[in-house]
Amino acid sequence: MTSSIEFMPEIRRRTLLAGVGGAALLAMTGGLARAQETVSGELVVLNWIGGSELEMMREIQKAFLVKYPNVTIREVAITGQGDMRGGIRTALMGGEVVDVLFNTWPAFRKELADAGMLRPIDDQWKSYGWDKVISPAWKELGSLGGAPYGLTYTFGDRSGIWYMKEHLAKAGIAAPPKTWDEFIASFDKLTKAGYTAPVAIPGKYWAHAEWFETLLLRTAGVETATKLATHEIPWTDPAVKTALSKYGQMLQAHCCGATNSMLANDWDGEADQIFQANAKNYLLIGMWMNNRAKNDYKLAEGKDYGFFQFPTLGMGHDDTSSIDAKELLVTANGPNPKAADAFLDFWTSAEAANILAKAGYASPSSNIDASLYGEAQKTATQAVASSKLQFVLGDLLPGDLVDEYRVQLQKFLQDPSDTNADTVLAAIEAKAKESY
């Protein structure tokens, strides 16, 4: 028998614990509700993203407003094509005062921070507990001098190739090519199946550089690419030429049709050639293609179209991938920092992460329900998780150098010979000497 006296303290303890727990829960929910109430006013968001990606963003903003009913969002929209940094700079220098802005260029984040326009988010990182949901690698990616500035909300594999499943089936290719040799060999089969240009090269603006950038990683590794980005090695370095020669090998294997056609189209026009016109087969482009394929072409991920990781080259660097990321930045002069911080936090929530996943985007937040990822996104996420990563080279280069780099690669498309490779790299190097 146990005496009631002996029980008493236990009962008291349980009652006390229950009482404290209940009170804590009440305090937490009440506190959270109060916190949500205290976040109010107008939140000004500077946005340059368009198309179906914008629809996804609006959906997240809508969900944010449901959670924070006292907040209103005003969007400062920057429209244009190509590099959008010019429009963003113009808006900010023209006097637009915003709380939050979307960014995808690490060099631009530094430019804004150096100009004193950004607010570091280390305090928010601690108070919102983002360390629990965002891995240190993403925190590092958004940091400058050790202080976090950008909260990465999505990332993309830039070393993956999109294709239509029926095209490969029609050419008698059972599975996507795994090695570089298999990839080159597939051109012949696809050409015989009636596709005159197996690889779509969007050479009008910037997307033709994607091939070079992944080839650089796969032939020379992350360290060399990093050194090139900071101009610690010259563009005339043999390692860079090896990558360009591999690009030349692909071009000389009749991968891509006439150069004039490559230079006439941007990535979206080339995507049309694969997913609408059924005229071309492979496209190396970022994960936004997933969203476009689903929403614009109304294709089923995994059924109609697929995605495979860049073929292996066997040069010791097949564990590397090029990635991009988009982040949220908060401004130093934004009138509503509370709402801005809450907005950032919301993008790490399960609700926002799942909206991203459903739209075909990856989220770095561990709150995501990974089962929502489709086949392509699963392949990409797995590849990013298991690779040595390097941010897109073009986004790391100084503005005038990146322009020259892309123009010179256009010249290489026109003449992929060994001699021209030297000329092209020498021209980029000459510009690089002025730019750093």
């Binding site: 700079r89 009008k204 006439a258 150069t259 056609s261 230079l263 005038d400 123009v407 256009q410």
Partner: protein, 318 residues
């Protein structure tokens, strides 16, 4: 003689000193009217100062500074100009601008001139035709740019390539905007298309101003339509042609929208004019000082072209 000299001297003195009674009255009247005149033209002066003079002065000021991104600007004096003329990309844009400007002006004005003379033979019947052609002039260059993208598309969906294939010449189908040899001419044709309307209207108006008696006399003398066009309409429509050339030249020099939409200055910068270069440097790379220096060069080119034309047009005005 002496009297005349004195009179001349008085007159001259009157002009400069206002001592002649008639001139003095005029001067007093002018002085009385001056405040009213100043008040009346003040809004225009204020508008001009805000919208033209200030931006112009600011552009010239910026051209002496090295401004890169959001970094702190540094004064470089004429450094941007020196760099500009040493920049092969800029030198290339000068040649491209010249070809584009002359090409679009010659094509637009020549077609507009021929059409105007043909329309002049049946003004009423050709009214809908003239309205339609002039409507193209009113279309935004961005819109017409997208229309021309549809025409020039490299694939089978492109109107021009489809037509070429339909006519049985599939070998002539081409990526018109992707080839550095054809892109500039494709651009010139697209820009000329929307540029024909204005010369047509200006030259047509000049032809309409030819006295009917002149045309009737030619008809009575048995002049054939071709002779009438060649010996009467062409020479007498020259004032309209001059204005059309002047306006088209200025428009072509400043062209941007259609280049931005159709080619983005490519391929390999083959369609990059000074206007587009200025945009690329100022807006894409945010080198505002460098872009401003290019703007000043473009402004000088516009002034060189427009000053003689303006002087000629205002020579008779008081």
């Amino acid at each position: 003689m002496a009297g005349t000299s004195v009179s001349h001297l008085r007159e001259a003195a009157g002009v400069f000193h206002g001592s002649s009674p008639a001139t003095a009255v005029k001067s007093r009247r002018r002085l009385r009217e001056t405040p009213a005149a100043l008040i009346l033209i003040a809004p225009v002066i204020v508008l001009f100062a805000i919208s033209v003079a200030y931006p112009l002065a600011e552009t010239i000021r910026l051209s002496f500074w090295d401004i890169q991104g959001l970094r702190k600007p540094a004064y470089v004096g004429l450094g941007n100009y020196a760099k500009l003329f040493a920049d092969p990309a800029f030198r290339n844009t000068l040649l491209t601008t010249l070809i584009f400007t002359i090409g679009t002006t010659v094509i637009s004005v020549a077609i507009g001139w021929v059409l105007a003379m043909m329309c002049a033979f049946a003004p009423r019947q050709t009214l809908p035709f003239r309205v339609m052609i002039f409507a193209a002039f009113g279309i935004s260059e961005a819109v017409s740019g997208y229309m021309w993208i549809g025409i020039y598309r490299a694939d089978a969906g492109g109107l021009l390539n489809s037509l070429i294939q339909l006519l049985g010449f599939p070998g002539f189908a081409h990526a018109w905007l992707g080839d550095a040899n054809t892109a500039l001419w494709a651009l010139i044709i697209a820009a000329s298309w929307s540029g024909v309307g204005l010369p047509l209207m200006l030259i047509f108006a000049a032809i309409q101003a030819i006295p009917k008696s002149v045309l009737e006399a030619a008809y009575m003398d048995g002049a054939r339509p071709v002779s009438t066009m060649r010996h009467i309409m062409m020479p007498l429509s020259m004032p309209g042609v001059r204005v059309a050339v002047f306006i088209n030249l200025l428009g072509a020099l400043r062209a941007f929208d259609i280049i931005y939409i159709l080619t983005g200055g490519g391929p390999v910068r083959s369609t990059e004019t000074v206007g587009y270069f200025m945009y690329r440097e100022s807006m894409t790379q945010f080198k505002l000082g460098y872009g401003a220096a290019a703007t000043v060069i473009l402004l000088l080119a516009v002034l060189i072209i427009s000053t003689p034309a303006i002087l000629q047009r205002t020579a008779g005005a008081r």
